[in-house]
């Protein structure tokens, strides 16, 4: 961190040394920044100090003589004199340590925290050798399960209030709390109300002793056996910085890194405990090809790649480059995404490439809009308008940042959504939009009449950011695009933070895995000359998006469909179209880490290396590029996606010139307008990552796209139908959660939520099953009355197993109208 400029510095003295503290800084932080570490247990710099463990007591003179003060609660003041090691301060600190130890069990050898425990460390460093406490220690039942993934051992607890403060102040899930009093104080949950929080694992990480431990890590390893690499979580697009702890080629846990611009050391449980999928038994470890009897059987890479190349070549000969299409790629590293983009657009010559599965937003908009960072979106006193995403379920740690901004920094949240979300409680204005017509609500707000005047006033903020995502799959993205365009016109200073959720969807879009674009946020036309020079060839015409590819495949116009870590059957909004498309393609090649529901259609399956198995970079919602690191070797012969692309290119008679992640990155930096200047060295110097498009590109590179939106008219509301809204939950029944044993149990199956007055009006019983039908199809679902669902709409969660809403959705329709009937 940079030093405070001299004119604003507060001059204090610590242990006789003059120190320039920052105004408003706590003594404990000022001392630490200047090399004096004051011991602590309760203080955690991402939470409000409570000053209750008393370990950080120091002697302070503020002009009225020396007094003992907790340095974690004391703000620096001019001429303050601090002694952290005077006899009185030492006496106090040693006393506290002894007090903490008298009731602490001596079970360090069997404690998961042993070896990385601040209490143990301080004791070894300063503590008395022999205990003067001959009385019996406090006893509690040893460890009790307080949630699916967390154990609590109350005997070890030193009551520092960290976990409880986290639960209440950071996560807003006040489900663990102090109970009882004095010497009998304990942390616990309410009976039968477990600590069911998306963020429970953070309490394990911040517990300064071994009171809270993670079940997935229990007795797995001793800290000194672990070796560690720093990486980035690739479970969603927030891109939290992590350390991967492993031992003997096995990943044992993830822990959050305190990345100032991103995750502040927090992780969601899906990210934290999702590491279990890395070593899952079901991981693909060898290529598979489909026998004539329909079975997928293992084969050698050489054979699989030859078959794949032959299929692509045959397509090329028959239908030209457009006969090959790629769906997926949003889980790849930037390097692999680039390799596949180069293979598709520069070798095969097809632009039928889409990293999104009809569930995102147009690439032209994501790439072209003025982008905000998380810090900018959460700026004190700013306004954050949320459209389309429920960050708690889709971008969990972003929710923590937003919550912090609202509760501590007076950021105003305005939420426009077809139903209440996790932000509704903390939003200054939470407004319901008609499904498929959010732009109409935006236009009304911009007009600012009547009740909407204060909402308009909230948006007229110098710091206005729009978190723009794609909440419901049951409507097309057009209304959202129109809303963004209207906001841009009305508030020219507006910036956008993407709410797209797939891990590296932003990297994939930036690197050209989307129709009409080349790497670096440039259009085919703008980039053609530059890339023809570099790549030899560039597609002539913009290609098809996922919906277009599936429709073309259904019509027999796609010879080879490559699924790059994609499961259209589960994720594409329109299952009927996805099924026809997969059936219609002559050859389906799946590049995957695990088999999924679409794999049944694959003719060739190529096993890819996954998270923690590859080196490279990833790009988050802000466009922030940070590194991912390999910790373990991939299972069997699985290999990185870029390598698969390079090998295919080779068999197609071309050379991608990519021999490792570093060479891919070097080429990206050299060619991409948006990545110019982001050298490996620059990235290495900035562990928090660098932001795409913020470095000045050199003049000769092609211009980056800017955002413009077509007009859109939503269809009129049909009084006889209900509009479908789909939502997401953090724990879905997707492949990744299902293969992480600690998480799989947390996914619940979805039921249809409807407003009780609608059920009443339609004569539908408020319990049991209903038949839900749309022009596209029908499903049967359990119905649940929910008064928070606006009348005229019904809500069904995505990917919570059957029934799946994608059976009802027509990808070509702007909204999905459904009818309900009671089933007998």
């Amino acid at each position: 961190m940079p030093e405070a400029p001299a004119e604003t510095a507060v001059a204090i003295t610590v242990n006789g040394k003059a120190i320039a503290a920052r105004p408003g800084e706590l003594v404990i932080d000022a001392a630490e920044r200047n090399g004096v570490y004051i011991p602590r247990f309760c203080y955690h710099h991402r939470m409000e100090p409570v000053g209750m463990c008393r370990m950080c007591l120091v002697e302070v003179d503020t002009g009225r003589g020396m007094a003992l003060q907790p340095s974690c609660m004391l703000t620096v003041a001019p001429d303050m004199v601090v002694e952290t090691e005077s006899p009185v301060a030492k006496k106090a600190q040693d006393g506290i340590l002894e007090f903490l130890l008298i009731n602490h069990p001596l079970d360090c050898p069997v404690c998961d925290k042993g070896g990385e425990c601040p209490l143990q460390d301080h004791t070894v460093a300063f503590g008395p050798g022999e205990s003067r406490f001959v009385e019996e220690k406090r006893h509690y039942e040893k460890p009790i399960s307080i949630s699916e993934n967390v154990y609590l051992d109350r005997e070890r607890c030193i009551l520092c209030d960290r976990c409880t403060r986290f639960a209440k102040d950071v996560a807003g899930d006040t489900l663990i709390h102090f109970q009882d009093r004095g010497n009998g104080t304990q942390i616990n949950t309410f009976p039968d109300h477990p600590f069911a929080s998306y963020f429970s694992g953070n309490t394990v990480q911040i517990c300064p002793v071994g009171a809270l431990t993670a079940k997935p890590y229990r007795f797995k390893a001793r800290p000194w056996d672990l070796d560690v690499v720093e990486s980035t979580c690739t479970d969603c697009a927030v891109g939290c910085r992590i350390v991967i702890d492993g031992s003997r080629n096995e990943v044992l846990r993830y822990a959050g890194v305190d990345s100032d611009p991103v995750n502040w050391s927090w992780l969601c449980d899906k990210g934290r405990f999702g590491f279990e999928k890395v070593g899952a038994d079901a991981r693909l470890s060898a290529p598979l090809v489909k026998e004539t009897n329909g079975d997928l059987v293992e084969t050698r890479w050489a054979d699989a790649l030859t078959q794949a190349a032959r299929a692509i070549k045959a397509g090329l000969d028959k239908n030209g480059p457009g006969g090959t299409a790629i769906i997926g790629g949003a889980h790849l590293t930037n390097e692999s995404a680039y390799a596949w983009a180069k293979l598709a657009k520069g070798v095969i010559g097809t632009d039928n490439v889409d990293a999104q599965l009809g569930d995102g937003l147009p690439a032209a908009m994501v790439a072209g809009m003025a982008r905000a960072t998380i810090d900018e979106a959460c700026v004190a006193g700013g306004t954050l308008l949320v459209i389309g995403s429920d960050p708690k379920d889709e971008l969990a740690v972003l929710f923590l940042r937003i919550r912090d901004a609202v509760t501590l920094h007076k950021t105003t949240v305005v939420e426009l959504s077809p139903r209440a979300t996790s932000l509704s409680e903390i939003a200054a204005h939470s407004l319901r939009s008609v499904p498929g017509a959010v732009h109409e609500l935006v236009n009304q707000i911009i007009a600012g009449e009547g009740d909407l005047a204060p909402v308009r006033a909230a948006l007229a903020n110098d710091h206005l950011t729009v978190l723009l995502g794609r909440g419901s799959m049951a409507e097309s993205a057009e209304a959202t695009v129109a809303a963004a365009a209207a906001l841009l016109a009305a508030f020219p200073n507006v910036k956008f933070l993407s709410g797209l959720r797939r891990a590296n969807v932003h990297g994939a879009l930036d690197l050209g895995l989307t129709p009409g674009f080349l790497p670096g946020r440039v259009t085919l036309d703008d980039g053609r000359a530059w890339f023809t020079e570099a790549w030899d060839t560039v597609p002539a015409e913009p290609g098809l998006d996922a919906a277009g590819i599936l429709a073309a495949a259904a019509d027999g116009r796609i010879d080879t469909l490559i699924l790059l870590g994609a499961d259209p059957l589960a994720d594409f909004p329109d299952r009927e179209l996805a099924t026809r498309g997969l059936k219609g393609a002559r050859t389906v090649i799946a590049v995957e880490t695990l088999l999924n529901s679409s794999s049944a259609f694959a003719h060739i399956v190529l096993p890819a290396a996954g998270a923690a198995e590859v080196d490279g970079t990833t790009t988050n919602i802000e466009g922030r590029v940070s590194t991912v690191r390999q910790k373990v070797t991939p299972p069997g012969t699985a290999r990185p996606d870029w390598m698969i692309a390079a090998e295919l290119a080779f068999r197609l008679g071309a050379d991608l010139n990519i021999t490792d992640a570093a060479s891919a990155w070097a080429e990206i930096e050299r060619l991409s307008a948006a990545h110019a200047g982001m050298t490996a060295e620059a990235l290495g110097n900035e562990p928090d990552g660098l932001i795409v498009g913020r470095t000045e590109p050199d003049v000769e590179r092609p211009a980056m796209v800017s955002f413009s939106a077509p007009a859109f008219e939503a269809p009129a509301v049909d009084a006889y139908s209900l509009r479908l809204v789909t939502t997401r939950r953090l724990y879905d029944q997707g492949t990744l959660v299902s293969h992480s044993p600690s998480l799989a149990g947390l996914a619940v199956s979805g039921s249809l939520l409807a407003n009780p007055t609608d059920l009443d009006r339609l004569g539908v019983a408020p319990s049991g099953n209903v038949k839900v039908s749309s022009p596209r199809g029908a499903i049967t679902a359990a119905v649940e009355p929910d008064a928070t669902v606006p009348p005229g709409t019904v809500v069904l969660a995505w990917n919570q197993g059957d029934p799946s809403p994608n059976a009802l959705i027509d990808a070509a329709a702007p909204v999905t109208e459904v009818r309900l009937e009671t089933t007998s």
């Binding site: 007094a67 907790p70 609660m73 009185v88 006393g95 007090f99 009385e135 009551l159 004095g182 010497n183």
Partner: protein, 455 residues
């Protein structure tokens, strides 16, 4: 002896069977102080209370008028919170003031609200005091009906609601920041001062004045009779009268309103109108001058006047006006254990030294009483105290947020240093109890000439 015939200011209705009724209250001059206050400007009332030098009666003894002035200007709403949690062992006055004269307290609250600019006050009554709660509820209902409280009192702009609130059993809630936490619906765990000085950041983080029941009960009299009349009573730095509860081994245990600062402990313990001497005419062994938290005094301190600063200089305090008297036959080890057990039971658990230290002290004392003490335990006791309150000097360097933790060191330091051989006797069986001075005292010697200012 300075047994003066000072008027009864706060306890004047204690002897009336119906002193708690609105009729009797009004008939005996009630609500005149409020009217006198309303005839002044609010700042005039503050000045009046300042010039009366009314010291807080809750324990810390801070001047009430000065405290009122600490509210940051321009920040509203402000709240007045009445501390009726009276739980300090030995203390018995606020309950009587609430049970026997609730209107006097209400009138005091109204005067305080008017002066400070509060439109809502909370009257926090200790949970265990059912009768006080009942009497105050009745008094509030009657006072609302009669127009003494509520909107536009007596047709003026002055409007205030008083909300009756009960605690639920926790001594620590008497500490003002814990009281505020409790009033917010939380566990009664104190807040650190600074930054949470109630006058600046109190209830709901708004400016809040916390005053003791007895403090406020003085206001009607001051307003009716003038600050000068009040300041004419008492000593230089301890004006007016004060209620002391004298309990333990005196012939007449009781609650006595005495002239503040001039009456001595000898008066209070021995004067026939007060304590009347030690029961069975035994010798005095020690006494607690101001509640369980206060370091003890001994026979050589009897001529100390009940004056805050003088007692403070000795290294102890008048605290909550609770004098507990031990005669020569008292088992000081057991008395010490009982006091320490109190603090161990009542620690809120927030600070490590208090949570762990007090119960450790209690366990050691228990072991000593059970005959399982070790010679090194006495120094261990003192060293644990030293770790809770480093240096054990006065003023102490407390390692805790509130003074409760350090309070537990008072009985240990007082007993172990003065009566060490009683403890040693326990190490080899129960002690023979005598009155002899057996060691240095924890509190300092009293120099008689220095402080006797009474006529």
């Amino acid at each position: 002896m300075a047994v003066t015939d000072a008027p009864k200011i706060t306890s004047s209705r204690f002897d009336l069977a119906d002193g708690h009724t609105i009729e009797r209250y009004v008939a005996t001059g009630g609500y005149q102080g409020l009217k006198a206050a309303l005839a002044k400007s609010p700042s005039g009332v503050v000045d009046e209370v300042k010039s009366a030098s009314l010291l807080g009666r809750g324990g810390a003894g801070f001047p009430a008028g000065v405290k009122w002035g600490f509210c940051p200007p321009g920040v509203f709403p402000r709240y007045l919170v009445v501390n009726g949690d009276e739980s300090e062992p030995g203390t018995y006055k606020d309950r009587l003031l609430m049970e026997k004269d609730p209107h006097q307290l209400i009138e005091g609250v109204l005067i305080g609200c008017y002066a400070v600019g509060c439109s809502q006050a909370f009257l926090y009554v200790r949970g265990e005091m059912a009768l006080a709660q009942e009497r105050i509820a009745q008094a509030l209902n009657d006072a609302y009906a009669a127009g003494h409280i509520g909107k536009n009192i007596y047709g003026t702009e002055f409007s205030v609601d008083i909300v009756l609130h009960w605690g639920a059993g926790a001594y620590i809630v008497g500490e003002e920041t814990a009281l505020i936490e409790s009033l917010e619906g939380n566990r009664g765990m104190p807040r650190l001062k600074p930054p949470f000085f109630p006058a600046a950041k109190g209830l709901y983080l708004q400016p809040t004045i916390v005053n003791n029941v007895e403090t406020l009960a003085n206001l009607p009299w001051i307003m009716s009779n003038g600050a000068a009349a009040f300041a004419a009573l008492g000593a230089e730095n301890s004006k007016g009268t004060r209620i002391f509860a004298v309990s333990g081994h005196v012939k007449n245990p009781g609650v006595y309103e005495v002239e503040f600062g001039v009456t001595t402990f000898r008066d209070l313990l021995y004067a026939p109108v007060y304590g009347g001497g030690i029961r069975h005419d035994r010798e005095l062994k020690a006494f607690i001058p101001g509640g369980a938290s206060a370091p003890w005094l001994y026979p050589e301190h009897l001529d100390v006047p009940l004056e805050a600063a003088t007692v403070g200089k000795l290294g102890t305090m008048l605290g909550s006006g609770a004098v507990v008297v031990f005669d020569e036959q008292t088992d000081m080890v057991k008395a010490c254990h009982r006091l320490v057990r109190f603090f161990a039971r009542e620690s809120c658990g927030k600070c490590t030294p208090c949570r762990e230290g007090t119960s450790w002290l209690e366990k050691i004392l228990e072991r000593i009483i059970d005959g399982l003490g070790r010679p090194e335990d006495l120094d261990l006791l003192l060293d644990i105290c030293d770790n809770i309150s480093v240096g054990m000097n006065w003023p102490p360097r407390q390692t805790t947020i509130c003074p409760l933790g350090q309070s537990a060191t008072s009985p240990i330091a007082s007993a172990v240093m003065r009566f060490r051989d009683e403890f040693e006797a326990y190490l080899g069986g129960p002690a023979e109890i005598t009155v002899q001075v057996k060691g240095p005292a924890f509190v300092g010697p009293y120099v008689h000439e220095e402080a006797t200012a009474d006529a």
